[in-house]
Amino acid sequence: MNGLLDGYDKRHFFCELMDCTSHDPAVQLIASRLAAMDPAELQRRAKIAEVELFNQGITFTVYSDKDAIDRILPFDLIPRVLTAREWDGLERGVRQRVAALNAFIWDVYHDQHILNDGVVPRHLVLANSNYRPEMAGLDVPHGTYVHVCGVDIIRDETGQFLVLEDNARTPSGVSYVIENRNMMRRIFPDLMDGIAVKPVGTYGMMLQAALAEIAPADAADPQVVLLSPGIYNSAYFEHIFLAREMGVPLVEGSDLVVENHCVYMRTTAGLAPVHSIYRRLNDDFLDPDVFRPDSTLGVRGLIESWRRGRVAIANAVGTGVADDKAIYAYMPRIIRYYLGQDAILPNVETHICGEAEGLAYTLDHLEHLVVKPVGESGGYGLIIGPHATRDEIDAFRVQLRADPANYISQPMINLSVSPTLAGHGLMPRHVDLRPFAITGRKTWVLPGGLTRVALREGSLVVNSSQGGGSKDTWVLE
């Protein structure tokens, strides 16, 4: 091979492209097509992509006093490729994970066998701020709590996939999966030409179907809606996208009203019943009668209506108890407990600082570990030991000692890399993967998922708030 990938040095990391060329001819073809590209041409296409994303409003919006500025999530036009075999394992692993999460949440809000059997420490669940006592004893259709699940997966130097985090509340990013594919078809058709890549366009239909499946049984033609916090939310584009793809109204809290425990939306023809709500609003804001009384984004009476089975809510309330970083550490045991299986996708080794042993280990090995606060997301508040200065580590040690229960630690995983356009060439940049699973009666996994890429050289943080971008993810047939 020669050309654009000549000087490409993946170093000791696993490369999503170059380390897969030997066992898949399609990957090899993609690599050789990339190698033959003219860097100026790639730059030109990248520029077009950027302008299109901006013009199409595939953006998040920053509001100031009198203006609204749109920003795009940077898009890298070099795809991340997964072979059929790799995907098979990922898909089975994600299904297993979702099944275990749902079984766990059901149990936690019913008989609590797993706590009684001492598999998961009782206090981790019951004292968790995301545990919702209101949910106790409530039966949800098909036993499904986590209707939409996003599992964050990384890959170490050996190419082993590892789960980094479960997102069981309102995971976002799926709109980019589909829009990235649309973009690739327009600006890079020659790269995909003749290569069979699993399609991603059915997500909206699958989501609509799952939401209809969980609607009250007596609703003949269930009215599904997407409940959004509104245009000021940073994920508003995704809400628009999903409402559009599902063909359902995007409603805000003020569009809904509860009368006699039934949920209605305000239409030009008066109040019309709503049967199933895909909410993109945190538990706290859903219903001022039950949660935050100051919430203006929610709907008064919604939770009671839900408890009475008059309306379905996805994801269910109280799922946050399962995607907590402390519970995460127990996931392999949770999977074994409910499913009698080993985890198909292993966890990253995790030390719980709330436990004496975990804290001692973490304090002793701080310079080799990544330490994360359990309640945060978006890559905030964590320290990457091997990249931190002596002073930063010392300061963090104080912080950790003050509130150990707030932290977990993990060894630093050298995330896999993927060739990424940087300047005039292709450079290795670290990536992760977030597959999305939809569950009504059964679980369906969108082929691929969101590949996030840390665009800064050497960075391991892929979050968009920290200089991350995204790539199209190809699952080969």
């Binding site: 013009n55 199409q56 409003g57 007596d218 805000e252 949920v263 239409t267 089975g309």
Partner: protein, 341 residues
């Protein structure tokens, strides 16, 4: 488990439209129409002031929009440059093209789950271009070019929506918004211009006089049509009559009212929306006043008083629509009524 009661089920026709979407469609149409009208007025004013035939021009643009106070606070003296900037690019002016486009885009953003993607894209790109209008862009030598661009973009919007928008009740709300704005704008234009242009004894029949009426017709894009039906004369009364009462001229007040009538009719009989009745009643009075009077009768009873009344009728109509379809008791948010008193 008992099904939730649904009293409206038998009369309701699919697809449903959220009240909030109906409101946003109505306003999106109003703001886009406002941009186009203002661009026409600015363009024509620019042309005629530059040729020295309409010295009152820039000041009357301010009058049409009832912006005297705001303008003098921000800019002081009215001249080609300050007025153009005030109406093209001034964020502090809620009636500027920039502000209207901003409001149009925010309404479109609300509507993105509903409207065709192309429609959003065009408004988005359009706004982002206008956002970049600088002080230097608003100098007299460039105003006409900018206005041509603005009109073209508004017409592109009209073409996209005509070619791609699904014809359900949302379309009717959009069209009602468009014709309410257009009718209102034409009535304002006639109101202000007619009185500024009424000939003083020494001007009668002069070249100056005729040019000003040309300008008025051109501002409403009615010059050619007017000439076709009045090849032999041009009098203030016939120009006012044409702009207010002509049934076939797409920007006349009568034509707009008839269109509103058609779309309200669709809402009530086509979509079974009982809420349209109050607006239909409100509109009946306005339609009767336009149908039953000649321009001579209107002039003899007082054009200004009549047009004031017309504008109040439009406000009343909009109120009736808002009341029936989207206003809630606790709701206070109001979008900007064009201009003035």
């Amino acid at each position: 488990m008992n099904a939730c009661p649904d009293p409206e089920a038998s009369v309701r026709r699919q697809p449903l439209l959220l009240s909030r979407y109906a409101e946003a469609l109505f306003w999106l149409a109003r703001y886009m129409e406002r941009v186009e009208n203002l661009a026409r007025v600015l363009d024509v004013t620019d042309t005629f002031v530059r040729h020295g035939v309409d010295q009152s021009g820039w000041r009357s643009v301010i009058q049409i929009n009832a912006d005297e106070e705001r303008f003098s606070a921000l800019y002081g003296r009215a001249n080609a440059e300050t007025v153009a900037r005030f109406y093209l690019a001034e964020r502090e002016n809620p009636n500027s093209i920039l502000s209207s486009l901003f409001a149009a885009r925010e309404n479109a953003r609300t509507l993105r789950p509903l409207i065709p993607i192309e429609m959003w894209n065009q408004i988005n790109v359009f706004y982002n271009r206008v956002r970049q209008f600088s002080k230097e862009d608003c100098v007299p030598s460039r105003v006409s070019g900018l206005c041509v661009y603005l009109k073209e973009q508004c017409q592109t919007h009209a073409g996209i929506i005509d070619g791609t928008f699904y014809r359900d009740q949302g379309w009717a709300f959009y069209c009602i918004g468009k014709y309410v704005e257009r009718g209102d704008q034409t009535s304002r234009l006639v109101d202000i211009k007619y009185h500024t242009l009424l000939p003083s004894p020494e001007d009668v029949g002069s070249a100056l006089d005729v040019s000003q009426w040309h300008a008025l017709l051109r501002a409403a894009s009615g010059f050619q049509a007017y000439r076709r039906i009045n090849p032999s004369h041009m009098t203030p009364a016939s120009v006012a009559g044409f702009l207010l009462l002509n049934d076939s001229f797409p920007r006349s007040v009568t034509r707009c009212v008839r269109q509103i009538e058609i779309y309200l009719g669709q809402l009530s009989s086509g979509y079974g929306l009982r809420g349209a009745h109050a607006a239909q009643e409100q509109l009946d009075e306005l339609r009767a006043a336009l149908m039953d009077q000649s321009i001579q009768q209107i002039l003899s009873r007082g054009l200004h008083e009549f047009l004031d009344w017309v504008q109040l009728q439009f406000i009343g109509l909009q109120d009736a629509i808002a009341q029936s379809f989207w206003r809630r008791p606790e709701q206070s948010q109001q979008q900007s009524q064009s201009g003035g008193p």
